[in-house]
């Protein structure tokens, strides 16, 4: 896509990509350029102006000046140093550095840069403004008194998360004296002028933010202005022990650090105080950042329960589990299947595994071709069958980031319209189609993007059958040349001047229409909009969501996805439904139905192994065990134990059944017996990022090829369209499973969500009749949702929502008011 160029930084030649910002080029080569407001992966804010450098003799800001071939960059001259020092002095005005209490506790960029730029005296002053500290939500706490208005929080919220829930607002500070403008360095003055006018406020005009409470603003804050309400003033950062891990809540598998220290003076057991991340390279969601205290505390080993568990496993016909387990545990369960013939049932991974198989046959490889990191680099993204806001935060961030950073465009196909997605960019078009028309959506994508030469004749003519032409009247702006005679006042001569004047003309044109667009609920003007969207677009990507795996025609959909990937030059990535669904799908041979005596692992069963503390035998939760997880980026990432666990783990049971290893992590190299995995020991797996942002965690799965078959997708039918009262199996944001629910900072309840209008119509409490059984739900209004379809969460495994929905994600139900 881009070309390699050579630039000189401080006299040394470095290679970088064309169009890369100077700052990133410098960072990638380990050259330090100070910058406060810039965030990798987000647009430059130009608030701090401290990244000033000289490029080819001109002063530019390294964060928004792009590198050109042969450019000579000087990172510091005397003039620049003076400017930077003045900027830091301004930041230090009314912001003491011997701050006694602050939750940043020394991890403070303001302190660091003040020292770095050797500010040892202050030359500026202005009366301070009283700025209150406020709570923005049940999670966020903002202390305006500490804020330096670098706007990193604003930038990340808009460019990464897509919530755009905060903005800069008036500070009410005193105006800068005019004499300063001439006396002080000009960038420092400009920065101060802006700083003195602004603080951060919620963007919806109220005192509370309307956002997903992801807390990424907290992570990026360079000072201690933004903190979570739970964490504020509870501990100093330096007391915390950082444990590198992988977030266990969804398939994003984000890099996180659990930060622990003994709970208090009385209670000396380790406790997780917060979760942090490498925010320049990975963005967390609310569940990842705040749903950390789901550990299962046990007092020692319960031998009786253990012996019962061994008996139960020996007796069991079926082991039922979900994808909240590590790869190692999945392999253990698969070993039980291979050795003792147990059936393995996993509701979330089963459909995904089937879908991958369907997809593998025509595509010729085991896994989807791309990943979400790659998708983030494209400029046209399409999402089909995923409730982007709820299903997977990383997919949503990718969709949003493309709109904001790559001047991208997006198509969002989903039966439930979502105002958040629609607001992510002006080039986002949402198709709110009927449930069951996902095939039609894929056919439309094929029609819009496919290189028709690569398609079979039959498919081509099938696609053509949807086209028809229509004659419409449009108004067009035409530039008309008008000649006027003008008398020149000075000379008295008359001159003929011709001017171009716009004129509206009505015109009849024949336009080509596609009946699929209409079928999918698209706008009449879609063709024109689409033309605009396609301008200057070079790379395309498709996000495939869970709706497709749980579709009655999943096989045909998988074939269509494979065909799109091949013929449309499109990067395709799928969202695994739950944390380690991909790992489980690759490691285990799953069965469809539960039969006979069942041992449930974090699921219902006759004997329950549970990391939730309510089972017959306790198991360690994901923050108490070592192991690897396979995430949606097709990466096997290591996670470490943050808290101690004294009870038994699955490997102990395996040992009792005579097929265990000494430690759970001894299973890690054994993963290689399954396709795509590598024989690497757990302790050899890296977990970090390089300065360039290269992910260096675990290893990437090999996308092995397989024998490919013919790909002739069948025409779609409207037979599976369902109408009436429809329930959609979908969790609220920040809720993914029992463990996120257990965490004390995740407040979202197990309730039915509906659009505001629908919620009003339903009342406070409803009974949902699934045919086989009924469930009572509180109704929660979700103001981002539109339409009549209601969402029913599945995060509580005890309620067994998966079984109620069966092999579908949408179900016609009867809802009665209670």
């Amino acid at each position: 896509m881009s070309n390699e160029i050579t630039i000189k930084i401080d006299g040394v030649e470095y290679k970088t990509q064309e169009g890369e910002y100077i700052l990133n080029a410098a960072r990638a080569n380990n050259i330090f350029v100070p910058a406060i407001c810039y965030l990798t992966r987000c647009s430059p804010t130009l608030a701090c102006r401290i990244c000033l450098v000289e490029a080819d003799g001109k002063r530019v800001y390294a964060c928004n000046a792009k590198a050109k071939d042969g450019m000579e960059v000087t990172t510091s001259t005397e003039e620049i140093l003076e400017e930077r020092r003045a900027i830091m002095e301004v930041y230090d005005v009314n912001h003491p550095l011997q701050c006694g209490v602050c939750d940043q506790s020394g991890e403070c960029e303001l302190q660091n840069y003040t020292l770095e730029l050797a500010v040892d005296s202050q030359s500026y002053m202005i009366p301070d403004t009283k700025r209150e500290s406020v709570d923005w939500s049940s999670i966020l706490h903002y202390d305006a008194g500490l804020c330096i208005v670098c706007e990193r929080c604003v930038t990340v919220c808009k460019d990464m998360m897509g919530d755009a829930a905060i903005k800069t607002g008036p500070r009410g500070g005193e105006k800068l004296g005019k004499e300063l403008k001439d006396s002080m360095p000009k960038d420092a003055y400009a920065m101060w002028n802006k700083l003195q006018k602004s603080v951060i406020i919620p963007s919806n005009g109220t005192a509370e933010t309307n956002c997903s409470d992801c807390g990424e603003c907290i992570a990026v804050c360079p000072v201690g202005a933004l903190v979570s309400r739970d964490f504020v003033y509870t501990t100093n950062a330096w007391d915390l022990k950082r444990i590198p891990a992988t977030c266990a809540h969804c398939s994003s598998g984000c890099q996180i650090y659990y930060e622990t220290k003994p709970a208090s003076i009385e209670d000396n057991t380790e406790k997780i105080f917060r979760v942090t991340n490498e925010w320049n390279y990975v963005s967390l969601c609310g569940a990842g950042r705040f749903g950390y205290d789901f550990e299962n505390r046990v007092n020692g080993k319960d031998e009786i329960a253990f012996n019962n568990a061994v008996d139960a496993l020996t007796k069991a016909d079926t082991i039922r589990f979900n994808s909240l387990i590590s790869n190692e545990e999945a392999l253990m369960l698969q070993t039980l299947k291979e050795k003792y013939g147990k059936k393995l049932v996993n509701s979330d991974a089963y459909a995904f595994q089937k879908f991958l198989k369907y997809y593998g046959k025509p595509s010729g490889h085991l896994l989807y071709g791309s990943d979400f990191k790659e998708i983030m680099t494209t400029d046209f993204v399409i999402s089909v069958g995923a409730s982007l806001r709820n299903d997977n935060p990383n997919a949503r961030y990718a969709f949003n980031n493309i709109q904001k950073m790559n001047k991208g465009a997006g198509l969002y196909f989903h039966p439930i319209a979502d105002s958040l997605i629609a607001d992510m960019g002006k080039n986002v078009v949402s198709f709110t189609h009927k449930v069951g028309l996902e095939e039609a959506a894929l056919y439309l994508i094929l029609d819009l993007f496919a290189d028709k030469e690569k398609l079979e004749e039959s498919t081509k003519s099938y696609l053509d059958s949807f086209h028809f032409t229509e004659t419409i009247t449009i108004k067009e702006k035409v530039m008309e040349t008008v000649t006027e005679t003008v008398v020149d006042e000075a000379t008295g001569e008359s001159k003929e001047v011709s001017k171009k004047v716009p004129k509206m003309v009505e015109k009849e044109v024949e336009v080509e229409r596609n009946s699929l667009v209409t079928l999918l609920g698209g706008n009449d003007k879609f063709a024109e909009t689409f033309e605009k969207m396609m301008k200057k677009k070079e790379s395309f990507s498709l996000i495939v969501g869970e709706d497709l795996y749980y579709h009655p025609k999943a096989e045909n959909l998988a074939h269509l996805v494979a065909l799109i990937e091949k013929s449309c030059n499109m990067k395709v990535a799928m969202i695994p439904p739950k944390t380690n669904s991909l790992g489980v799908a690759l490691l285990c041979e799953l069965d469809e139905k539960v039969e006979g005596y069942t041992v449930g692992y974090n699921e219902n069963g006759d004997f329950r192994l549970s990391a939730l503390g309510d089972g017959d035998l306790d198991m360690p939760a994901m923050n108490q065990q070592e192991g690897t997880l396979t995430n949606m980026h097709k990466r096997v990432t290591p996670t470490n134990a943050a808290l101690e666990y004294e009870g038994y783990e699955l490997n102990d049971l395996m040992n009792a059944l005579e097929c265990g290893e000494l430690l759970t992590i001894d299973w890690t190299p054994r993963l290689a017996s399954k396709r795509g995995f590598q024989a690497l020991a757990f302790d050899d797996l890296p977990n970090g990022y390089t300065n360039e942002g290269q992910e260096n965690r675990g290893y990437l799965l090999k996308n092995l090829g397989r024998r490919s078959g013919k790909n002739e997708p069948k025409p779609f039918s409207e037979k599976f369209v369902i109408e009436g009262e429809i329930a959609y199996r979908c969790n609220p944001q920040r809720q993914f499973n029992d463990f996120s629910d257990k965490a004390h900072q995740i407040f979202e309840t197990f309730s039915l969500s509906a659009s505001t209008a629908k919620a009003k119509a339903l009342g406070e409490k409803v009974e949902v009749d699934f045919g086989k059984s009924t469930l009572l739900f509180d109704v929660v209004a979700d103001e981002r949702m539109e339409g009549d379809i209601v969402s029913i969460p599945d995060f509580k495994s005890a309620n067994d929502i998966y079984t109620l929905f069966g092999s579908d994600r949408y179900k016609t139900v009867t809802i009665r008011k209670v």
């Binding site: 006694g100 209490v101 040892d120 030359s123 301070d128 003033y233 003076i265």
Partner: protein, 207 residues
């Protein structure tokens, strides 16, 4: 000292007095004679006289050189480092500690622990604070690092107790509110040096 004396490098004989010490007797008779001689000579009373004189002074003239510990105590240096005191603000009476945690961090024997929380006045409140005096080596770093002069060393050096815990809670070390007027600033480790004003550059303030 004259130059001549410098020139005399025979340091072995310089102004030393040679004592007239007799040879230790070897025979039994000789040894017996030495014992008799020393006993009868009365040299013992030369030394004992000093003791008797002081006893007389103490008993009859009330002039004693030792003190009656523990009924009496010697004054100690203000820089003495014994059990910590927690000081209060003189104006408001509120304790000075802001819960910054620097004492906890700097403590080299890792004996200070504190729990803090965000209180209703939007301040950091110290909910619990302990010093494990079984481990404390009274190095004074905590007092030196304290930005508020809140933790200082006091003069309470008698640390024998049935339970060390009886010294170590925040309230035990805190100046009693009724004794606020008697609270003294600490001159030792961590105190502001008398010439502090001369050595710092002041930050300009607009108010």
């Amino acid at each position: 000292m004259s130059l001549e004396e410098f020139k005399n490098r025979n340091t072995g004989q310089q102004s030393y007095k040679m004592l007239d010490i007799k040879h230790t007797p070897q025979s039994g008779i000789g040894k017996f004679g030495q014992v008799v001689e020393r006993t009868v000579k009365g040299e013992l009373f030369v030394g004992l006289w000093v003791t008797l004189r002081e006893m007389g002074n103490a008993l009859f003239k009330d002039n004693m050189h030792t003190i009656k510990y523990p009924l009496e105590k010697l004054p100690i240096s203000p820089r003495y480092r014994a059990i910590h005191d927690m000081l209060r603000l003189l104006e408001s009476g509120h304790y000075r500690c802001i819960g910054c945690g620097l004492c906890e961090k700097i403590c080299i024997s890792d004996c200070i622990k504190m729990d803090t929380k965000y209180d209703e006045n939007q301040r950091k409140e110290v909910t619990e604070y302990t010093i494990n005096f079984g481990r404390c080596i009274f190095c004074g770093y905590c007092a030196e690092v304290c930005p508020e002069l809140a933790i200082v060393h006091g003069g309470r050096y008698e640390t024998a107790s049935e339970q060390r815990a009886s010294f170590s809670l925040f309230e035990d070390m805190l100046t009693p509110i009724d004794a606020l007027k008697q609270q003294k600033e600490y001159d030792g480790f961590g105190a502001v040096s008398p010439n502090a004003d001369d050595t710092i550059k002041q930050t300009p303030l607009a108010y």
